[in-house]
Symmetry: C2
Subunit: 815 residues, 2 copies
Amino acid sequence: MGGRNVTTSTVGGKPLGRTELRRIDAWWRAANYLSVGQIYLMGNPLLREPLRPEHVKPRLLGHWGTTPGLNFVYAHLNRAIVARDLDMIYVMGPGHGGPGPVASGWLEGTYSEVYPDVSQDLAGMRRLFRQFSFPGGIPSHVAPETPGSIHEGGELGYSLSHAYGASFDNPDLVVAAVVGDGEAETGPLAASWHSNKFVDPRRDGAVLPILHLNGYKIANPTVLARISPDELDALMRGYGHAPYVVEGSDPDEMHQAFAATLDHCLDEIGDIQHEARTARRQPVARRPWPMIVLRSPKGWTGPEEIDGHRVEGSWRSHQVPFANAREDDAHRAVLEEWMRSYKPEELFTDDGAPVPDIAALHPVGERRMSANPHANGGRLLHGLDMPNFRDHAVEVESPGTGAVEATRVLGGFLRDVMAANMDRFRLFSPDENNSNRLQDVLDVTERTWNAETLPDDDHLAVDGRVMEILSEHTCEGWLEGYLLTGRHGLFSCYEAFIHVVDSMFNQHAKWLKATNEIGWRRPIASLNYLLTSHVWRQDHNGFSHQDPGFVDHVVNKTADVIRIYLPPDANTLLSVADHCLRSRQYVNVVVAGKQPALQYLTMDEAVVHCAKGIGIWEWASTHPDREPDVVIGCAGDVPTMEALAAVDLLREFFPDLAIRFVNVVDLMRLQDEREHPHGLSHADFDALFTRDKPVVFAYHGYPVLIHRLTYRRHNHANIHVRGYKEEGTTTTPFDMTVLNQLDRFDLAMDVIERVPHLETVGGAVRGLLQDKLVEHRMYVRAHGEDMPEVRDWQWQRGGGPEVVTADPEQNAPEG
Amino acid sequence: MGGRNVTTSTVGGKPLGRTELRRIDAWWRAANYLSVGQIYLMGNPLLREPLRPEHVKPRLLGHWGTTPGLNFVYAHLNRAIVARDLDMIYVMGPGHGGPGPVASGWLEGTYSEVYPDVSQDLAGMRRLFRQFSFPGGIPSHVAPETPGSIHEGGELGYSLSHAYGASFDNPDLVVAAVVGDGEAETGPLAASWHSNKFVDPRRDGAVLPILHLNGYKIANPTVLARISPDELDALMRGYGHAPYVVEGSDPDEMHQAFAATLDHCLDEIGDIQHEARTARRQPVARRPWPMIVLRSPKGWTGPEEIDGHRVEGSWRSHQVPFANAREDDAHRAVLEEWMRSYKPEELFTDDGAPVPDIAALHPVGERRMSANPHANGGRLLHGLDMPNFRDHAVEVESPGTGAVEATRVLGGFLRDVMAANMDRFRLFSPDENNSNRLQDVLDVTERTWNAETLPDDDHLAVDGRVMEILSEHTCEGWLEGYLLTGRHGLFSCYEAFIHVVDSMFNQHAKWLKATNEIGWRRPIASLNYLLTSHVWRQDHNGFSHQDPGFVDHVVNKTADVIRIYLPPDANTLLSVADHCLRSRQYVNVVVAGKQPALQYLTMDEAVVHCAKGIGIWEWASTHPDREPDVVIGCAGDVPTMEALAAVDLLREFFPDLAIRFVNVVDLMRLQDEREHPHGLSHADFDALFTRDKPVVFAYHGYPVLIHRLTYRRHNHANIHVRGYKEEGTTTTPFDMTVLNQLDRFDLAMDVIERVPHLETVGGAVRGLLQDKLVEHRMYVRAHGEDMPEVRDWQWQRGGGPEVVTADPEQNAPEG
């Protein structure tokens, strides 16, 4: 912070009159005072008496360093909102500056509206202070509990993508987004600057990024604060922005500089939007959007030095600047002096309420950023206008036949969903929309693209609604921001690469869990993942494309927010998708293949099967009238096919064997009803899987998950699971199942091994199957494709379903 | 590719003589020919006869689009290596261009050296073609099987961080790194450009990034190819680079332009290094490193059009440009014409070997990029010079006493490791090194920092060896690159945020698994994670900091490469760390707290306990001479403390109860020996946990993992696990265990409930414990800290161990 005492600013001028300046500064001081109070005090909130040890919390927690900067910006945004009647929300990347927005929400009255016991008076202020980072209180981070927030910010990197997500389809909204210079070092944040190439200034709102360089992280300086001003300027211009710098530490000068800069940026935003919205020739060329570089001291207005060490403007003010204020009289004196430096007597009435000058700064009603309904998206949520998914049904005259790409059928349905909801629904994908066979949506909309185009480009438009950037992080962040502000969407991704956003999923799932317990938070649309290009068809892509573990990761989150579906064919996928798009407050994970595959259920059957989530397929069972000798279970499209083929083999050799065939669509049905809302009772589970018969289960992912979900079941000891074992490398589709022993031959041998009365004859048949397996393997290695009897296998060769044949292009390999 | 036919170049000149030009072009054509052959052919490799259907593979897989660009660069790097005797490796971000480096490795002879059956003759060329993306062959991506590669590249984003990792401490190495313009959109890649602020030009080698703008991803254009040249230039300068553009499509012109540019960049690198290495005043100011923007058509030299659609220079050439070459005569004719356009008769002898012009271009021996030992890092691996970890032993006179920060003790050991290995060991952390209490390493080295510094900065230096950037992705990528080139390191991270690199861990673990099966790949040092700031001490940070699920994620990978350790105290942590730093080819995950905590084992005991990985603590058991009535198991520091405190409660109420106390350090000991090399036999497991007695197990993470690991055990039905349940928000340390019911009172009540003969008296005691629990909870809510009898609890109050008291700063909250 070399020149921190000299205020410099790209934009000149002193737009603030004396009253405005006084009000802004009063707000800032008040918010800072309340922030320090939250971190330190549990009594004597207005310092009506000298600070005594018992007024100070025994354990001091929280982050001061970033907070005054957040408060500074808040005050200025408020002035602008009032002056321009702006519809604005505020995304705070440094979410650990939690005391700031809590303080501002309280100053605006919103906090007391949603938490009446934290009233705008002395008792309320005491509660405000005490609850912060206190058992039974609120976390130190901006949290779902914080009015006005859609962004937790404890895990850094997502402020800009959340902000852009909020701005899409909200033409009148301005999203101010503070990016911390720590956060700016993260990959997800670095990528998300390019979001401006996906904004339609006619239809979308604006994001105003404010890069806050306070210079330090926990213990290190930040990269962007320590590159030259020229490099930083170039970086921002390279990202497509016009940067405006405000740098300094003198409050009055900084107020003037920031106000002038903010006015300038808002004018420029207005200009860009006006031009785009009125130009006769569309689209107008993308212009750089304004952004602000705010360079101010870390822990600004805090103690300059403690015990001979610099604190303000140093990494030492990152958290609690000094921790001994309870026991150490000198430190406590510093704390008192610090808090009194804000002149609380000028800021709060005798009753502890904010003085009129402060109330005069902030807007009223829903214009308050802490009360803006966009930040409580459920309040604005309009359900999707849902077309009838049955219109897209695939005809299945005979089960286990045909060659349909399930996700392509889904694409037709999504096209209709899109067409009926062109203001509230988007698709997100890391350049995989077409690869995932959802291209039919491009009949009714385009891919969002606000950069150069060339004649050979395919379906690009500024106002497109299919959002594709090769960043899972950005896709996820956009979608989260879009959902959190009351809209709907779906993220389609290759199964293996969804792990890229494991931690983002964590945060969103936790957000949903937390908001379920917060009365004033209204339910939002579910976050829907479509995972395709799945592990069983990675016949050429190598190990990087093989990983079915996202489902395992998801299952670790609380049961009330997660749902997992493995539809075996196109009609079940349609039914599941319809259900997911109507749902609220869940994360729905749908795993479905995109390659031509057999179809099993008619639409009516599919709807019934999906409603149950699990069920016996009588047509695939043998002797369904008898008690089964064995249960074959399956979940996932390829496992279902292999399990069926195993039944086919078995019924040929053992016509008398009673096989029950159970298919699972809704994976959580396997779990105990006490552990998941979708869980089956033990009685229902036993009715499907018996209490004592062998179960051979063909599963899409890692076998252990099936054990995990069923280990409390009576019959668990008899459940034998086959699934992915990390044994794929370069394979054909069937070779992949062979390598992992999920193939029909292994499954059939499993059954023979486990059914007691097959022991005598079984040996010979096992030998035959083993030979077949070897023969197949050798054929594959010799010819590079499956042996015809495997490749062309269908459940009923005599049947005559309407086979939807894939055209050659559809057969293109995955990604 | 608006001006793709006009060659433009920042650097002028035509440095190539006729012979050089001819050789480079011949190499390029040969590599391209071999690449197309790999994708399409299974016979007739030199087109000695007209192409017939059976010469074409039945399933066409692979990616052509990026390959000619990779080959082009390879040819030019070879020229430079020979001309300058460079020690150079080549990292290819677009790893799906696998045919390219395979082709070049074959041209250089390396491929035939490591795979003798793929010889440099006609038979070998046929095998080379056939094996590609063929069952039993090689994947279509650059893979561990590819000589010269340290980078798989199927999951995009890590090429630059891998390249920088390779360059650290390799002053004579130049790492050429092609960044695809698809990859460039990812977060991890976007962040990793800033790696140049962490390079010491005296001590480290150089990375030469080559941003390859071929314009398209799978179906979309790329962002960086469609922003203005000015924006792109600004972006690269903002990242700290001096960009040099080479754009066009005419081969001869492009060869001259690229050669001139490459020479210029290598000169500049030499200049920067020379200046830094000879300047009298150190450190010299950071200068922008050169980088190249190569703008060339996607699928360059491929068919221009097929069926009326543009292919070369379009997204259509991303994968296999046309898929019907086997059945469709016209397409097959296109293929033949395309392959013949490279003039194979000029490139290969009658025997199918490369002609002398090609052999003349590449360097020999280990200068060949495909044979460079840096890309097979195990060949260069020098074990760490290991100091004696016992020197850092914490004295423990009486178990269950003291207050030691385990990771701080580890920091002392790591300091000694660092001091003894200043050329081959580094620490990596996302700004958490000190927060994780490893600051003692700063006694012997500094934090790496090559940007502006200010007086209040702490331990920054250009030649520091503690690498901190707030990007888990960049840290992980650096470390992987460092390890893959034969060095050692440790990544310390907050437990919750390690999920950010879930997918990177996946790739590295799969790489290790694959290399275990490749004879010529030599073992490398293990990837060591130290996870701290763990879930049980997130007393203020809110939900974003709470997630113990990385271990679950890790367990999904194959057992031969993963190891998980949960040392309960400082001495066990030292012993585990020593073991991990000596190990090879593993991913070691070590979870350990950083807060002052009780100590249990003397150094001698710790070494024995860690060697066993699991064991009975007799001193913590009651009536160890008898058969136990109950087993209390535990894994993790906080669970161990709570479990011990539960024993303390129980022995008071039930002096006759025989409790066996089992602590687990090496988590995989719990698993069946057939599933993990560290797994216990059933007999050994039964000897610890009995076959029929109740087991109450206190576990660090999600309880389900313990069930997963033990579900094949005889006594599994009696194992009751308590662990993290996603119930933390704002809590004190103990409140966190209370919320998740992992506290001592709940554990004690579990035991009472499960031991049959306690039923009668147990009810009253349970009531007492329940009251205690409520009392404690109320105390915490009132006072903001644990009730004294909980806070101050130790195993033996009468004992007199040397208590290492934490100073107040050490008590600072987590991150």
